[in-house]
């Protein structure tokens, strides 16, 4: 399993002069960030309430607990917001959070380590795992299919892959 908390957004300074903040959401649906409260900063400051009040260019506009003035909002510019991993909703069969997959070691069917998951992409033709090859700076892309990745064991923290010829 991945980290206990994950970055879901960041604050980008004040919006207007009444204490609203510009909020950059990293969620698949930007407005979903409000569902994952309480949000926490890296230093441990907790925001229990976050209400989205509108949209600005490239960001959401929100009102957060404990921020009443423009100066307070500006002081939070660049602050990353973390949500507890437990706040994320449950998943269907064969669905995985990117946060859970990234960092997992990838083994071949013989047990040899091929590398570690660096990123997960979807370019429109199905999800792909970018695997950092063990002992190399090179990366390879694996199609995230049952055929190529037969086992994803989040409890044991490992992925078993059967890559097609010509990938590694």
């Amino acid at each position: 399993m991945g980290a206990d908390r994950i970055v879901v957004g960041s604050l980008a300074g004040a919006f207007g002069v009444r204490g609203e903040v510009r909020l950059k959401s990293f969620c698949a649906e930007p407005a979903d960030i409000a569902l994952y409260t309480p949000l926490e900063t890296a230093e441990g400051r907790m925001f229990r309430v976050l209400v989205i009040t509108g949209q600005a260019s490239g960001a959401l506009v929100a009102r957060i607990e404990g921020v009443e003035t423009k100066e307070q909002a500006d002081a939070l510019r660049g602050t990353a917001l973390y949500a507890s991993r437990d706040r994320l909703p449950g998943l269907g069969e064969d669905e995985f959070y990117h946060a859970d997959l990234i960092g997992l070691p990838v083994h071949d069917t013989g047990g040899a380590e091929l590398g570690r998951v660096k990123a997960v992409f979807d370019h429109g033709a199905g999800d792909l795992l970018e695997v950092q090859v063990a002992g190399s700076s090179e990366t390879v892309l694996l199609p995230f299919t049952r055929e190529t990745v037969p086992t994803v064991d989040l409890v044991m923290g490992r992925i078993v892959a059967d890559p097609p010829d010509g990938v590694f």
């Binding site: 879901v8 997960v120 199905g126």
Partner: protein, 92 residues
């Protein structure tokens, strides 16, 4: 101006050849191609192509709804990592 219908879809000849050879061999392999301009044809469904993006071959598993598109559309030339946040991946 759109391509004339009488010409049929454009596909580089070597792509057709490689796809046919792969289908005949029956092996699970990534067919490496450099032709991003080739059209995806019905006979490519079920095959996995490695489409070059200028740096590496991006695996593209061809499905029915991709017919008529170009291979290059599924192999972006720029990489953006971003944050994982609550994004999900589905194993197909």
């Amino acid at each position: 101006m759109a391509r004339s219908v009488w010409k049929g879809p454009f596909v580089d000849a070597y792509v057709l050849k490689k796809a046919e050879a792969s289908r005949d061999s029956g092996r699970s392999e990534v067919i490496k191609i450099w032709s991003r301009r080739s059209t995806i044809l019905p006979q490519f469904v079920g095959l996995t192509f490695g489409v070059y993006n200028g740096k590496k071959h991006v695996p593209v598993n061809v499905t029915e709804d991709m017919i008529g598109q170009k291979f290059g559309e599924y192999s972006p030339t720029r990489t953006y990592y971003g944050h994982a946040a609550d994004k999900k991946a589905k194993r197909k």
